[in-house]
Symmetry: C2
Subunit: 249 residues, 2 copies
């Protein structure tokens, strides 16, 4: 008895895309791009012990506001991990690093081992279940703050692997097509360009969160790498920054 | 502040390998192969809502008996999944399929979407954290029962992706080396060859479980694909089958 094929959308129904939705500025823009392309979005977020759990609340708000077809928050078990400032209190989030330090190519302490690989693997499972060909991820090769798994070569290799992971993938490759496409529409955009694009598409950036170290009210610290990149992006984009910063930030 | 590098083993300490340990016959053999090669094993198992949760008990017993350096059981959230007989009661496990049906290339109903991709992604995270280069997985291209993510091309693509996912990987590729090796020592072995190999290495197959549909005492059904492959393997290997089958199986 063969496995049931993924459900095809009814005739005339929009194609389905899976969108990785962290609750940050990039993924919110990515979601808007997928919807602008006409996809019915199945959004996927993760609870992985991140200090800034406000991310998940932001993802919920963004998904509801965008009217996605489905939003799943998956729990990722951290017992295999260790050593990231985003998931342990033993390491401090770096603050006020200058642009040179952020661009030095060193992997920052906020790196979570294999995080994007795990997230994309879950997205691949969701895509297979939902009959989606397109998986959107808001990674960015310019303002990527040194993360190794945000590079074009990595994404291409993941897509290649994903297409070999399923029978539909192998059959499609034989036809010179792909069954899974890893879509990273922000890959070559600067933060300011992302903000301009999202603003055009109506993204409510006030509902997004980027800070690695917000205060207990959820206000952004203004000084971690993520805050600095975001803040500079709004300035360079000439768009009012709706971020709620902690007092004095 | 760069991320702390993975801890190198102390001088003279054995290299670390991550071994995916399901509790089945293949992964138990794989663990024995890794130890025979001199690796200190960090074993990784998953609780993913499988019906045969006795797998996890078997993995614990095997890890303890083998004296592994570390054993982690990670919970994998199923909310992104659906449609597999191993994770829902809505689909029946197929029984008494003949060899032709098992070999017809169709993906069986017991396929869990992207399962090996997710498992290998966690293993990659664990390897990065533990400073391991080798990740052992007991997949098998001969008796693989139609799973798409047990093929050599898939494993090669995963390894390529894994080496692009980390800075150490990219640096190693530049030197013509690899930072992560996906090791599948059983890939081209028939079930009987695996059983002979494991018997030589002292694997206690009585502690392993393969059945997709055991009874409440944990006894094997004897008729699902996994039971049939296993049973025939012991016969062909000329090794006494220590499996506890349900009455009448």
């Amino acid at each position: 008895m063969p496995a049931p094929p993924p459900a095809d959308p009814p005739a005339g129904a929009p194609p389905v895309a899976v969108v990785l939705l962290s609750g940050g500025l990039d993924s919110a823009t990515c979601l808007a791009v997928a919807q602008a392309e006409g996809f019915a979005v199945h959004a996927l977020s993760f609870r992985y012990g991140q200090r800034h759990a406000g991310e998940v609340d932001a993802a919920h708000a963004l998904a509801a506001r965008a009217g996605v077809a489905r939003h799943v928050v998956a729990d990722v078990d951290l017992r295999v991990f260790g050593g990231s400032a985003l998931t342990t209190d033993d390491l401090a989030v770096p603050k006020d690093r200058d642009a040179a330090a952020m661009a030095d190519g060193a992997i920052p302490v906020t790196y979570v081992p294999a995080r994007n690989t795990i997230f994309l693997s879950y997205a691949l499972a969701m895509a297979e279940t939902a009959g989606a060909r397109d998986v959107f991820v808001g990674v960015n090769a310019l303002d990527y703050s040194g993360y190794p798994d945000c590079r074009p070569a990595y994404l291409a290799a993941f897509e290649q692997m994903a297409n070999l992971a399923t029978r539909a993938g192998v059959e499609a490759l034989d036809r010179g097509e792909v069954a899974v496409r890893i879509r990273a529409p922000l890959l070559h955009l600067a933060k300011a360009e992302i903000i301009r694009l999202g603003t055009t598409l109506g993204v409510d950036y006030a509902a997004t969160t980027s800070c690695y170290d917000p205060d207990i009210t959820g206000a952004a610290c203004g000084h971690c790498d993520a805050c600095q990149l975001r803040r500079r992006g709004f300035v360079e984009a000439g768009v009012d920054d709706p971020t709620r910063y902690t007092a004095g930030a």
